[in-house]
């Protein structure tokens, strides 16, 4: 195998950040290098020190090469790929094309107050699907895509737990 710089990529949506291996604790911005320090103590928990400021961090989820990271209270979802797995991923994404279905999962435990759609309804992105009550607040769950309701798995007054599949939408092209 040809000798090449070992590298890892962190991907989020269309964004790609490349890091050379071995991973150093510095990041270069323009001509300057800045040190990143990951620390943990009793007072602050886990945090990153960067340019004399302390940023709270939390690992929300870590599964194989997928990481959800709460950095300064904003959640970032990255997948980390090697140059090889990145190529493979890009190839498979092209082959697979767009997903055909969107599953609407319960974002948290709660009670369904109202379901506004029925099987076969044609919906546009942003249209209300149902109202879920949790923590005394009624939250409208809106349709994330343009599509047709394939199945409705919940009814008013029903309780759901986190990640229950409430509805399935067949995505229109």
């Amino acid at each position: 195998m040809a000798k090449q710089q070992k590298k890892l990529y962190a991907l989020m949506g269309r964004k790609k950040y490349g890091f050379n291996l071995p991973l150093t604790e510095t990041i270069r911005i323009g001509k300057r290098k800045y040190k990143i320090i990951l620390k943990e103590d009793n007072k602050y928990g886990t945090y990153v020190l960067w340019k004399n400021r302390r940023y709270p961090v939390e690992i929300v989820m870590s599964r194989q090469n997928k990481f959800d990271i709460l950095f300064n209270y904003v959640c970032y979802s990255f997948t980390v790929e090697t140059p090889f797995s990145l190529k493979r991923k890009q190839y498979l994404d092209r082959e697979k094309g767009q997903p055909e279905e969107e599953r609407i999962l319960a974002p948290m435990p709660g009670k369904v107050i109202e379901v506004m759609v029925r099987e076969g309804d044609e919906l546009n992105r942003g249209e209300p699907l149902l109202i879920l009550e949790a923590m005394k607040m009624q939250n409208e769950i809106n349709c994330p895509v343009n599509g047709i309701v394939k199945s409705v798995n919940v009814a008013a007054e029903e309780n759901v737990v986190k990640d229950d599949v409430m509805l399935e939408i067949r995505i229109s092209q």
């Binding site: 195998m1 070992k6 890892l8 962190a10 989020m12 964004k15 950040y17 890091f19 291996l21 071995p22 991973l23 990041i27 911005i29 990143i36 990951l38 007072k43 602050y44 928990g45 990153v48 960067w50 940023y55 709270p56 961090v57 939390e58 690992i59 870590s62 194989q64 090469n65 997928k66 990481f67 990271i69 709460l70 950095f71 300064n72 209270y73 904003v74 959640c75 970032y76 990255f78 980390v80 090697t82 090889f84 797995s85 493979r88 991923k89 498979l92 974002p107 948290m108 435990p109 109202e114 949790a134 923590m135 005394k136 607040m137 009624q138 939250n139 409208e140 809106n142």
Partner: protein, 501 residues
């Protein structure tokens, strides 16, 4: 009658808030320990703790009129402060207190009832020639009547529950063909939520500002106002940030709306602290919306610009004392901003994000006030509201307050749940917010993301993800699989691996 012992019929930050003033006034407090929050922060501030953890009733104690009265009598409290929410605006509860010779620290049952029923409140305001949106004269009994009224006032209209308020039980109707369905939905919802199916119709004001006036009245009929609060930063009628005063009002309008607020409060013989809410349209016209007959979450911004402790005034008024301020004594000094830091995930549409607060470190300083009911170790439970803390900033003017607010937001340290902080960090940099031109539809209609976007922070998060990946695959041979050996894997195995992901 001098108040000596207040039963706090509430929890969280408002329980703490009321007790701070009570303590300063030398009044004892009794708090209720519940099974769902046996280690809550507010318990540590009460002089007496009533243990209600054995209560197995399905109704939370703070909503249980009989039980609260019994606790007050058992614990020797001479008065009850209801805080906000729960029983704060329940006229039967206020009456029940009076029947048992307990002082209800709030307005009369009659005022609560009249302002709580939006149809009655409208009639009262109309009789006093208070500016209001065009609407139905009373409740709307049928779909056909709804259609007839809506034709008269013109679409869009809003259907509201007579017993609703606080943004609940409302439906906007844009077209006549939607009316029958919306009417049925509003009616059913009103019945379910407020046990009263009656609804009424008003002209819907598109893109208004929400401006409210704080009022204070005593039992002798003296009523004053303490200027306005600007509450247009809201999402689905839930306020997120409030400030006082409002950039939208000039001195003449401020004075006029203040006088109108006093007039409305006088119409029901109001005493204690209350809030008169207005919609303010693009043409600068204002319309009376409703009156809230309680202390409000956002009361601290008024306290900071007027220097008056509203809880203290509520207590003094409840004791039967006369107002110690005249309207001319109420000064408006500086600017105050309140950010509601809630346990919510702004990246998934402000969905609640309950959990244990592992650490909370709030900024402090001369111009910073923090009202909170949580400390490290507290749990933001799914069955209560999602409030963690209110960060309240004072400045000599708006520019000064905004600058301090921006700094203070960066100093908040909360670990354990997601919070609304990224929203405020975005908002405080948004030009529309900064110039004061936003309306209540701003968050839902004009923002594409609800959180701050920082290029550097994203890059640092990417580095951290990569660091974790390397850390978890520390064994060099493990890393090699992907780098070198993967090319020897059969495509079938490779596929299977990917599908598993």
């Amino acid at each position: 009658m001098k108040i000596k012992n207040i039963l706090i019929a509430n929890r969280g930050e408002i329980a703490v808030r009321v007790m701070k003033t009570a303590r300063r006034m030398g009044i004892k407090t009794t708090v209720i320990k519940t099974a769902s929050e046996p280690a809550a922060m507010y318990l540590s501030l009460g002089d007496n703790v009533y243990d209600d953890t054995e209560n197995v009733s399905e109704i939370p104690v703070f909503l249980d009129i009989e039980r609260i009265i019994k606790i007050a009598l058992d614990s020797g409290a001479d008065s009850i402060h209801p805080g906000y929410g729960f029983l704060a605006e329940n006229p039967y509860f206020a009456q029940k207190c009076a029947d048992n010779k307990i002082i209800f620290i709030g307005p009369s049952p009659d005022s609560i009832y009249k302002m709580g029923n939006k149809i009655i409140a409208r009639k009262i305001a109309m009789a006093k020639n208070i500016p209001m949106t065009v609407g139905s004269e009373g409740k709307i009994p049928t779909e056909n009547e709804a259609i007839r009224v809506a034709r008269r006032i013109g679409y869009p209209v809003i259907i509201k529950a007579a017993s609703g308020g606080g943004g609940r039980g409302m439906r906007i109707v844009n077209r006549e063909e939607d009316m029958p369905k919306m009417f049925r939905m509003a009616s059913n919802e009103a019945d379910k939520t407020f046990s009263d199916h009656s609804v009424f119709i008003e002209k819907y004001i598109e893109n208004p500002k929400h401006i409210e006036f704080q009022v204070l009245g005593d039992r002798k009929g003296n009523i004053i106002h303490l200027w306005e609060r600007e509450c247009s930063v809201q999402r689905k009628h839930q306020k997120l940030l409030e400030e006082a005063p409002s950039l939208a009002l000039n001195d003449d309008l401020r004075k006029e709306m203040g006088e109108v607020s006093v007039k409305i409060a006088s119409a029901v013989g109001y005493f204690s602290a209350g809030t008169v809410e207005f919609l303010f349209d693009a043409e600068g016209a204002y319309y009376f919306m409703e009156m809230n007959t309680r202390i409000q979450v956002e009361h601290p911004v008024t306290e900071l610009i007027t220097g008056i402790d509203l809880i203290e005034e509520q207590i003094r008024i409840a004791e039967g004392q006369e107002l110690r301020y005249k309207q001319k004594d109420i000064k408006l000094n500086g600017w105050a901003i309140e950010c509601r830091i809630n346990a919510e995930d702004v990246q998934s549409g402000f969905s609640p994000s309950p959990g244990k607060i592992e650490q909370i470190l709030m900024p402090s300083g001369e111009n910073i006030r923090v009202d909170t009911g949580v400390q490290a170790g507290s749990v933001i439970a799914a069955n209560f509201d999602s409030m963690i803390a209110k960060l309240i900033i004072y400045g000599k003017d708006r520019k000064d307050a905004l600058a301090s607010c921006k700094q203070a937001l960066d100093k908040v340290w909360i670990k354990g749940t997601k919070t609304t902080l990224p929203f405020f960090r975005m908002l405080i940099r948004n030009s529309r917010f900064l110039d004061g031109s936003i309306t209540t539809s701003f968050i839902e209609n004009e923002l594409s993301t609800y959180h701050v976007n920082s290029e550097y922070e994203e890059m640092l998060a990417a580095w951290l993800a990569t660091w974790l990946f390397v850390d978890e695959n520390l064994d060099e041979s493990n890393l090699k699989i992907d780098f070198e050996e993967a090319k020897n894997m059969s495509p079938w195995l490779l596929n299977k691996r990917i599908i598993r992901h």
